[in-house]
């Protein structure tokens, strides 16, 4: 009793205080563990990853008659990451032997069905596919390859990944990860104190970080919460969460989560997470197809994706990869001979310095914008959609080359104004209205200002076809009609007087419509447009696919309307499509994570302009290449290829445009300076050159539309518009006219003139007016070329 009494009250208080503190600490610890438990478990169990929408290019369709050589087919397979090897015994491999290719095609989930992995035999006949056969030798009429992955739609500074299931992971990868990063993975409880101590010892001795002591589980936790602060508190929390994960989940699940979670590289603003995407990013093929040295390199990168970046620090990466291989051999994961052999292998990464191959930012930008019309941002960046786009990778590559080659030529031309030019290109397919390629600037793989979409510039003479279309639609004009190419003074609403000029500062007097358009005469066009009326001219812009008509100023006749290259492509696509308007599409189909088809724009056609007027206009646009401003390009095009198009040059040579089409492709090119400085180039000496480079390098067809029933072809004299015979002079041109149109016959050489009669007249006809200034040399400076 006495003892108890002696016990000071203060001490009792102290004890109680301690108890309370201990209790509070315990509660705090429990709360902390509970909080951490919730955080980490939710992260692990819930929607584990936000999945950016994955965007694919259009698949390569194979069918008998397809214009594709075995060599080009092999190139396409390599682009898809297929490996040439014998035997062809697993998906992702192929063998080319002369004119035949055996390929083991990968499984792929298309929008309508999952195509299983299968063997295919493709026989070639020179430049075309002769036949396709399946595994049993059965004839296959048509087959699509798995398409190229071209990117993802991720939030700015966002993570991107391709989720892989355990079945898609080569068994070597988890073994290698364990051997190199966490040898006790199978037995520890989330933390490995011995490893931490060992790492500490090694690192102190080496004076640098050579070994990490974190288990795979700890690395996973660390990656979940993206906090690189190395405070003790963080370390403690990490350890607790790792422990929690280990007690709640299977090792296999943790390994799978690790493989999909971990950070493995940086691609501009996008963070490459998980081995699935990293495999595409570094090797351009699926994870399942990686071999030993490739797996070893990936494991090497884990330790420091920027320090061991195989693109920027190839030697460092190679050294570490070989160290990994050595460890794998020591640990008995692979045989020493295998490791030896693997050490001799090159890194094997796809080139494209610092960027993943097949990176097409301008086109992806278009896809993203089109998708935003139908989808919430969050649905695009988080819910794992698969997007099937219209991009044709081969065409895209050729477009990039055509533009950059032309810009390089201009850089070296010695003309200061044409150096350091920017450019943009859009390629569409006329009948189906698909955007198959897009280049947004000089550096095509640079994700910056997208000139194809975000830059509006005056279209110059690209506007002339709209004036002539309005004239033809009015029913008052034919290609043989004569308009006056003479000075005009137009009183503007502001009270000023507008006095347009021809580019050659000359006046040509009475000219036919076909001459006025092909030789791009400003005065003839303005006189024609004013006669037809600004209203009808402005209306054609909407007919051809613009959302809004340009303001009805007289200057729109000469192309002051400012449009971006995609808008121009839309309008010219409607022309190439015979007056049928198909809204340009960049997306063919969208499916969700379960493979269900979601909303996507459908193929649409609308008869927008009368077929006869459009057909007649197009025939005049063909003449632009025969006797107009695009004639210099003719010799660079494949012989016999019929194309149509129009040059455009804005005031003071600020913008150089060309828009034109073959039967299979519409190509629009813009060249100019971002600061609007003069380029010193016309449409002919600038954009047309890049256009021709591309048109000549692709597989396409002649522009060859069927003549509408209501029109017929007749020969007219290019200068006078008089009806004549094809044998009379070189200036006779065949043009379509509505059946029954009355034309003035050429008195000297009427339509009935035979070849024999014409031969007798030859001396007389030598004096036929000479075309002036249409023979613009391809490389001529604008001073020597007369017209845009």
């Amino acid at each position: 009793m006495a003892r108890r009494k002696r016990k000071p009250k203060s001490r009792q208080k102290l004890q109680r205080g301690f108890a309370i503190i201990a209790l509070l600490a315990l509660v705090a610890a429990i709360v902390l563990v509970a909080v951490l438990d919730r955080r980490v478990t939710q992260q692990f169990e819930g929607r584990r990853w936000t999945l950016p929408a994955r965007v694919y290019a259009q698949p390569l369709e194979l069918y008998a008659g397809q214009n594709l050589s075995s060599a080009r087919f092999a190139q396409e397979l390599e682009r898809l990451g297929y490996i040439a090897r014998t035997p062809v015994d697993r998906p992702g491999t192929f063998r080319r032997k002369g004119d035949s290719v055996d390929v083991y095609v990968r499984e792929f989930r298309f929008s309508d069905e999952t195509q299983p992995a299968q063997k295919l035999h493709v026989g070639f006949d020179g430049e075309a596919i002769a036949a396709l056969a399946g595994a049993g030798g059965a004839d296959v009429p048509v087959f699509r390859l798995d398409p190229l992955l071209i990117g993802s739609i991720f939030p700015i500074h966002g993570e991107d990944r391709i989720i892989v299931s355990p079945a898609e992971v080569p068994p070597l990868l988890p073994e290698a990860l364990k051997a190199v990063e966490d040898r006790k993975f199978e037995s520890h409880h989330g933390v490995n104190p011995l490893a931490i101590l060992r790492a500490l010892f090694v690192n102190v001795r080496a004076g640098q970080v050579e070994q990490g002591g974190s288990t795979l589980t700890q690395q996973l936790v660390k990656s979940y919460f993206l906090d690189s602060r190395r405070t003790l508190r963080r370390k403690g929390e990490e350890a607790i969460m790792a422990f929690i994960l280990e007690s709640r989940f299977e090792k296999a699940d943790i390994m799978n989560a690790y493989i999909n979670e971990i950070y493995l590289g940086q691609d501009g603003r996008r963070a490459v997470h998980g081995f699935g995407l990293a495999s595409q990013f570094y090797f351009g093929k699926p994870l399942a197809e990686l071999n030993l040295p490739e797996v070893a390199l990936m494991v090497a990168i884990v330790r420091g994706p920027s320090y061991y970046d195989p693109r920027r620090h190839a030697e460092r990466a190679l050294e570490r990869r070989n160290l990994v291989l050595k460890v794998l051999a020591e640990q008995g994961v692979v045989k020493p001979e295998e490791a030896e052999r693997a050490m001799k292998a090159p890194l094997g990464i796809t080139d494209n310095a610092g960027r993943s191959a097949n990176y097409f930012p301008a086109f992806l930008d278009l896809v993203r914008r089109r998708l935003r019309e139908d989808y919430q941002e969050q649905a695009l960046t988080e819910t794992g959609l698969t997007v099937f786009s219209t991009l044709d990778p081969l065409l895209q590559e050729k477009a990039e080359i055509a533009l950059s080659d032309e810009l390089a030529r201009q850089d070296k031309s010695g003309r200061k104004a044409a150096q350091g030019l920017e450019g943009a290109m859009v390629v569409t397919t006329p009948q189906t209205g698909e955007v198959v390629a897009m280049v947004g600037g000089r550096r095509a793989s640079f994700d910056g200002f997208n000139r194809a979409l975000d830059m509006k510039r005056p279209i110059g003479s690209l506007a002339k076809p709209m004036v002539y279309l309005a004239a033809l639609q009015s029913g008052r004009y034919t290609p043989a009609s004569v308009v006056m190419d003479e000075p005009i003074e137009y009183k503007l609403e502001s009270g000023d007087v507008w006095k347009p000029n021809n580019y050659d500062k000359k006046v040509h007097g009475p000219v036919t419509l076909v001459r006025g358009l092909t030789q791009s005469y400003n005065l003839a066009t303005v006189n024609l447009g004013l006669d037809v009326g600004l209203g009808p001219v402005a209306k054609t812009y909407v007919q051809l696919g613009l959302d809004e008509a340009p303001p009805k100023y007289a200057s729109i006749l000469l192309g002051t309307a400012q449009l971006n290259p995609v808008e121009v492509a839309q309008m010219y696509n409607t022309l190439a499509n015979g007056g049928f308007r198909s809204p340009l599409r960049a997306v063919r189909a969208v499916i969700d994570e379960q493979g269900k088809a979601l909303k996507a724009p459908e193929l649409e056609v609308t008869e927008a302009a009368p077929a006869e007027a459009v057909y007649t206009l197009n025939r005049m646009l063909i003449e632009v290449f025969e006797r107009g401003t695009a004639r210099p390009a003719k010799k660079a095009l494949p012989p016999g290829l019929v194309v149509a198009g129009k040059t455009g040059t804005s005031n003071d040579y600020r913008d150089s445009w060309f828009a034109g089409f073959s039967g299979g492709h519409v190509i629009v090119v813009w060249m100019g300076h971002d600061d609007n400085a003069t380029t010193g180039l016309t449409g002919t000496t600038g954009a047309l050159q890049a256009w021709t480079r591309l048109m000549a390098s692709i597989s396409t067809t002649s522009f060859d539309p069927l003549m509408p029933e209501a029109v017929e072809d007749r020969w007219i004299e290019f200068y006078s518009g008089q009806e004549t015979s094809p044998y009379c002079s070189g200036s006779a041109v065949r043009m379509p006219f509505e059946v029954g149109t009355v034309l003035n016959p050429n008195p000297a050489c009427p339509p009935s003139t035979t070849v024999e009669e014409a031969a007798l007249m030859q001396p007389l006809l030598q004096d036929a007016p000479n075309e002036e200034g249409v023979t613009v040399p391809a490389d001529a400076a604008p001073q020597t070329s007369n017209r845009p």
């Binding site: 259009q58 369709e61 069918y63 008998a64 008659g65 397809q66 214009n67 929008s111 309508d112 069905e113 006949d125 020179g126 430049e127 075309a128 002769a130 009429p141 048509v142 699509r144 006329p430 009948q431 189906t432 698909e434 049928f580 063919r588 088809a597 459908e602 193929l603 649409e604 056609v605 609308t606 008869e607 077929a611 063909i622 003449e623 025969e626 290829l641 019929v642 039967g663 299979g664 597989s699 396409t700 067809t701 002649s702 522009f703 060859d704 539309p705 069927l706 003549m707 509408p708 029933e709 017929e712 072809d713 020969w715 015979s725 094809p726 065949r734 059946v739 339509p751 009935s752 035979t754």
Partner: protein, 189 residues
Amino acid sequence: MLPLSRTFVAVAVLAAAGCSLQPFRSQPPTSTRPASQGGSGPVITEPPTVTSTMSPEPVIQGPAPSIPVPRERPKVAPATLSPASKALVTQAQTQRKKGDLPGAAGSLDRALRIEPNNPLLWIEMGRLRMDQRNYAQAESMGRKALSMAVGDNRTQSAAWQLIADSLQARGKNPQAQEALEKARELGTQ
């Protein structure tokens, strides 16, 4: 118009397309243009070489034309489908029967990329738009097919039939009747 006869016309055209002995657009595969997109109308810019890839009959009699262009339009052999598009059209029809309209559209899209100038494919796409109750687009597809079938009566007849059906579905009966007349007239030629 009974749906039965509608189906009949489409099937008849496609069957004819399949059975035709004529090889699909007689372009050799080694030419610079893909064999899938054979030439259609002649666009001739060089006077002396007046040729036509469109018609089996000679367009102009004799080596030197006395009249530049014949007023009479040559008849054109009915359009046919290439084996690749035929396979895709068959697949689309199966998908349509199963009610998988997006799938069918995808298959026809593929065929159209291979043969964008084949009017039969546009008619087929128009038929699908009918199923999707997109009658305005069905008509547009029919008109697109017409523009590609100049001189090909059988195909034009099928296109007019599609247009007639699309008009009728929208209650535009007088116009539908007119279109139907055209389909019949062309069908008997």
